[in-house]
Symmetry: D4
Subunit: 250 residues, 8 copies
Amino acid sequence: MNPQELTSLLRDVAAGNISCETAQAVLAGNENKDLTLDTWRQERTNVGEVVYGQGKTLEQIRASLAELGRHHPVLATKISTAHGQELKNLFPNGCLWEEARLFCLGADLLAADPKAPDSEVLIVTAGSSDLPVAREALGTARFLGLGAHLVSDVGVAGLHRLDPHLPSLRQARVIIAVAGMEGALPSVLGGLLKAPIIAVPTSTGYGANFAGLTPLLAMLNSCAPGVGVVNIDNGFGAAVLAKKILARQE
Amino acid sequence: MNPQELTSLLRDVAAGNISCETAQAVLAGNENKDLTLDTWRQERTNVGEVVYGQGKTLEQIRASLAELGRHHPVLATKISTAHGQELKNLFPNGCLWEEARLFCLGADLLAADPKAPDSEVLIVTAGSSDLPVAREALGTARFLGLGAHLVSDVGVAGLHRLDPHLPSLRQARVIIAVAGMEGALPSVLGGLLKAPIIAVPTSTGYGANFAGLTPLLAMLNSCAPGVGVVNIDNGFGAAVLAKKILARQE
Amino acid sequence: MNPQELTSLLRDVAAGNISCETAQAVLAGNENKDLTLDTWRQERTNVGEVVYGQGKTLEQIRASLAELGRHHPVLATKISTAHGQELKNLFPNGCLWEEARLFCLGADLLAADPKAPDSEVLIVTAGSSDLPVAREALGTARFLGLGAHLVSDVGVAGLHRLDPHLPSLRQARVIIAVAGMEGALPSVLGGLLKAPIIAVPTSTGYGANFAGLTPLLAMLNSCAPGVGVVNIDNGFGAAVLAKKILARQE
Amino acid sequence: MNPQELTSLLRDVAAGNISCETAQAVLAGNENKDLTLDTWRQERTNVGEVVYGQGKTLEQIRASLAELGRHHPVLATKISTAHGQELKNLFPNGCLWEEARLFCLGADLLAADPKAPDSEVLIVTAGSSDLPVAREALGTARFLGLGAHLVSDVGVAGLHRLDPHLPSLRQARVIIAVAGMEGALPSVLGGLLKAPIIAVPTSTGYGANFAGLTPLLAMLNSCAPGVGVVNIDNGFGAAVLAKKILARQE
Amino acid sequence: MNPQELTSLLRDVAAGNISCETAQAVLAGNENKDLTLDTWRQERTNVGEVVYGQGKTLEQIRASLAELGRHHPVLATKISTAHGQELKNLFPNGCLWEEARLFCLGADLLAADPKAPDSEVLIVTAGSSDLPVAREALGTARFLGLGAHLVSDVGVAGLHRLDPHLPSLRQARVIIAVAGMEGALPSVLGGLLKAPIIAVPTSTGYGANFAGLTPLLAMLNSCAPGVGVVNIDNGFGAAVLAKKILARQE
Amino acid sequence: MNPQELTSLLRDVAAGNISCETAQAVLAGNENKDLTLDTWRQERTNVGEVVYGQGKTLEQIRASLAELGRHHPVLATKISTAHGQELKNLFPNGCLWEEARLFCLGADLLAADPKAPDSEVLIVTAGSSDLPVAREALGTARFLGLGAHLVSDVGVAGLHRLDPHLPSLRQARVIIAVAGMEGALPSVLGGLLKAPIIAVPTSTGYGANFAGLTPLLAMLNSCAPGVGVVNIDNGFGAAVLAKKILARQE
Amino acid sequence: MNPQELTSLLRDVAAGNISCETAQAVLAGNENKDLTLDTWRQERTNVGEVVYGQGKTLEQIRASLAELGRHHPVLATKISTAHGQELKNLFPNGCLWEEARLFCLGADLLAADPKAPDSEVLIVTAGSSDLPVAREALGTARFLGLGAHLVSDVGVAGLHRLDPHLPSLRQARVIIAVAGMEGALPSVLGGLLKAPIIAVPTSTGYGANFAGLTPLLAMLNSCAPGVGVVNIDNGFGAAVLAKKILARQE
Amino acid sequence: MNPQELTSLLRDVAAGNISCETAQAVLAGNENKDLTLDTWRQERTNVGEVVYGQGKTLEQIRASLAELGRHHPVLATKISTAHGQELKNLFPNGCLWEEARLFCLGADLLAADPKAPDSEVLIVTAGSSDLPVAREALGTARFLGLGAHLVSDVGVAGLHRLDPHLPSLRQARVIIAVAGMEGALPSVLGGLLKAPIIAVPTSTGYGANFAGLTPLLAMLNSCAPGVGVVNIDNGFGAAVLAKKILARQE
């Protein structure tokens, strides 16, 4: 444990974020350090441990990033605007994508993949309100080394907008369909395409939408089979599933 | 009160369907007869009183049909299979459409409207499991004197199946879209057509469909505006709304 | 793309609202511009594309308004107070109706229709808490060229308040009934009137109201048939359905 | 314990309805008999213990009736059709009201109260499907010695049907309003009358009615204050509340 | 319309709270003024119209108070802290009870009723977190002229705390039981007392309490019959029901 | 594998209960037998594997009982009436407790524990409708070797019925409180006693009880802390938790 | 249309399953036959149209099988026991797997794939109650030509049972994890394996399981990312998604 | 009542926190003081009255702490950050643990128990987002005099992290398992350990987590029996249950 880490630990104790006995254990021999962070998850599952930022203190996020970032690139999701700016200060080399609520060390979330013509993952949104979630999927896919592209605003209220994209939709190896409101886009795509569809409901909508419950239920009940659904607003999980599907193919 | 009605009343009392004091009141002067049946509803609302059959005894249904049927044709909905057969015995001139769970006096639920080419109401279903509800709408529309037609099995898992029907869809003055599962059909139609869309969710589906809750929520959240939703499995209500829309136009 | 639009685009990129590859695509040839905006929706469905403002950035709303507003009047809904003021600054000729959360270009949301005596759409509210939603319906109806009027505060706790309005209620061609709490108004109107009833539940209420779920369910279960229901607080959708009903009649 | 009771006890043990150690305790000295039955509840609360029949075995119901019936009249509610017939056989002097699902010893559920003109409780239903619940209220009210009357089928789809009943509605000291579907009747009555309104939602309806949830929520959100709500289909509880209200007045 | 009212009206129009055509109508002849306010509700129902403050603008509340307050005392409920202070400024003679969220003209919400020994309504809370709702009931009861008293903090976790209050509980003519969490208090009281119990669930609690849903359901399922339930946090409605019960007795 | 087991296996295959490849694997070397049954669970967790009978075929239950019963006593829960009788035929030495829906080999579910005065677990029910679940707990406790006793019908509608049981309630080391309807009993007991309370909600009730959801929520929100809740109708789980608590103490 | 089909059609009309006008259309020229059945779905999506058997009449299922079976093998799902036997009579060459509720023409659902050592899809269940759904997945996978295997009863209550299966779990290219109750199995597998996990919640459980809602929610919230969820009890959909994933890899 | 208390009382009245008649009663003789605070709860139930801080004013919390703190140590839970700081000012000797939302008088929440090697209660969290709730349990356990320890971040996505803790898990006499998201940790521990498991769902998660509903349901449906569940985020209740379990053992 270097001096900076010690400082950080003590600040945690002072702030009430870490109880005394945990600090004692850490100082006595770091014995539970390996347990707290799952450093060989990537080896087991193709995707390393990621820092889930929601409901955590800045210090918790910082400590996890610092530790995991020693060995390989590391991603943090659901980062608030305030935390994002502070992380950028703490890790000037890190990459912040504010609207996607992503921050990472050791990778570039914004650089389009050079493998673009051989598009592997196509992320499609029903409306422009779904973009934050779609961008979480896009950034995660790039972080995981996939060739990913985004097509937005092709929901069922104007299906003709799908037409110019049909060639790239048919070429993609995995489709991530992101939709709020009635969540009908995955059903339409599932009836048109051979690729597996990963459906991401979003909390876009109001009233009887119930913060994404409606598109979640709709996607689970898709009359076009072959649709796998992830949690509401879970663009991250969709990209991980895409990674696992594509990794298997190699 | 004729002898047959008296017999019927007394059987009701014996069967516990009518309490003694109600029977007394009826015998003393029929004073609440007009209240029980809303005989001038047609005049007020364009659609006369209809007998809702669910949860009622056969005798309750019979008595309402007999009373309302004195003046003009009368329809009963949500008739069970067993009650349907018994009503057919009690009213040999009545018309029973078993799968639609409809029974009526003074009209023919099964005869296609001769005005067919000038189709007014087009009822469209997503799948063949939605047919009972669609037929409830079709039969009610015929009972109300509308020119109504049925197109089935054009759900979003195979949207190309809509193509041959586009001319009649564009010609219809009101669309009734009947769908279970994810309930996406009204959204697709709402994005393609000028006519008002009446959406009827059905209880077709299982698991996270929750007996029609999923298509109900989806239809209420349609990203294509101009969709009016009725209760789950309420083909009857959809046809009444169509009647009110079209009656206004004359 | 003019300089102002370029500036706006670059600000979006800087702010993280638009990913780099989208900006590249836009600069390379605007090729997905027509897809994003559904410019011939009006032709297909009688109602052109509308900008749904909730959950969008000011820049997203601005860009959509600018693009759609080139060709014909354009409406934006669910505009927050802060965005409304900024849009008024950006488009000084635009019309802002703050309480209705509407903003539009090319039309006057506040000018009463001169066709008033030949009232076509009558919007009725149960209480004065329902006014914001009723005004969304009223403004949208005016935007769509309908003759629309508003009667407020005639809920079922004092039904006699309906009496002086019965002549105009009977004359209206479409009724939009807006109610929160127990949502009983559409049932009462549906039992009195020939016109089709469009029911709009509102989120007025507390406790077991569940933000509009109670009136939504009540309206779907109306014992007076012929009621079409839209989403909670969806005054906009109710006006579009009215437009589609009335357009058919011409 | 007489021989018949002993036989009954042993049959219970054999049938698995009573565990061995309970039987031992009973035989050893009846020490928990007073506990099982709350024989002085009437004294405390104005209403004696009642046998809730749902989910109980015939023997459980029989034993409770026999024990409680020693001292004063006793009522059993939610009696199934099969159990009702068997109870009539076991207690030939008992009174069975099948449609109300009531059985009692020592009182007449069907005899109209001679005090009729001085009507105290008026039970009002929205539709005839609500009659079983309304009769449970009526029979319970009679059992409790109240002057109770029933008016049915005056729901909001045809409010004029209320008019001829307004004098008796205004004269009643307590109103019990029974309604399924959208459950609007208590709101209407609450806006018209001085008497307290006890609202009973029923499970009449289908689809998004959710077995009475819709009228329950509607009644809890009544815009007319002064409405007390009981459980779905709980006609019994409504009558007990009426009894407690009226007993206070004496 | 006096100058001050005119000013107020015009400010409403400027603020978007009142649409132009409504203002025109008002100025043209005040023809819908009587409709908006239900001035003879007290005569019909024993309780005059009350101003529901939630979700309304200050101006809406002020205008209603001013109009209704011309004829008799008037109460406003669910007043926010900010609005409360402003109403106090606007109506210096008005009475504000901040924690009860009540404001009234023409009555004193805080003065204990001199009739105290002849207590009529006893309001009982399970915990001190339920006090705001209990005070809404208490203030409303005083406004309606009832003799009302409050006993707090006697929930089921320490039932012996009820003992010293049993004499006054047995003497009260109506009990209002206010409880959050598991909402068991009305069941306990219902098993002990002859008086009718009005149960008010509160939103006190967290997690699986679901903002009052748990005590609401518990109260509806009370195993002690004779409990009438009102909406979550609806102390006002409970007091009105108490008023209607007691008014009948005179 | 003995001949009888072979017959049983083949019947399973014929009946479609076991797929062919599983049968092949079993015949090839029994390699997944140890996995299917968790034979050392007792050693790890103090409670051996139990056969959950709901939704299983008779053959599935029989095979599990036969296999697990080789080594030590074995219990099956949620046994239907029909399956119970057939199991009694297949295992004549087995013990069936029909109302508790339990069947076991190698133990006596009905024999009261001789250790009774040193009562360890006291099972308390609110009403007699809760007895089947209470008996599941009682039988399971006996199967696990605990001294368990049952007190029924002491719910909150007549709390005085608790009084004679207070000595044994205070002496018990674990309390299992079983209640449906509003589920208030655990709160009352938790406020009176030192022992840990295990709360079991039952599906007793109707309407807004929602098949046990109401008492489940009430128990989770108990204002008396120290209550651990198990699933609705899960008398078995409550007894296992009691066993784990008491085993720790030895 | 051959004579047998004509007979079948007419029987449908007589039974009320097909309305007269549809029969007329069919007889006039079969014009909507191609629409009803989506015969080129396999070409578009890799998986041909499948007959969903729930809620359909035997005749509806028979007609769809006969038509679709002309061209290539066809599968029907969610077949009731009664319909299964009748289909076996109607199509003696068909293959019925009763417990999986599957019936098909032109394929063998029960024959293990010879490619077994190169296992592609591994279906894993938490308990033996999950077997019917797992078999629906297994049979569908075989129908689609995949090499699929089933491992059952390795739920989280005894995780060591997973150990002997780890080699095949690591070798599988897609995992289908089937679980009811708390649905934790996919999370455990997702933390151990590289392959994509398709999670299928089942309706196994009772009480607060809510017929599969609990495992559905648990799977959507898996802390191990890379899990795609399908509807409750939807073994069929899981196998289709597996097919789409694996087809992409070829 | 000393002068400071009088001041405090009067400030309460001025602030509207205490109604006038309550103040009168208090001044007249303090007669309901013993009722408000349940000072002998500790004697009855092993755990004294605790101040529940949520939704209370600072003054309410202060008064309760002052009164209860006269006799023995007292704990307050769910203290907001703002109130925590003010309480620290008011009671300089008090102990504030901000992240656990605890404040107490007369005990040290942060000092690790010297009895550590003889660990009695082991608190285990699935992730670091669950720490605030785990700390509420830890601080409460310390307040109650238990030897308690915390192990965090051993959720099912990386089960190997449990391994180094197995010795202390097997040694603990009670396990408190704290988990959000899918809530699988208690099931895994229940299948491995002899100790009773107290499961605490947390509101960690988003989307279809529904603020802790998902882990709550999962824990109630645990396939490993012997798990007692407390309310969402109720670390306090879990520690009280642990206290009651361990107190019995002495």
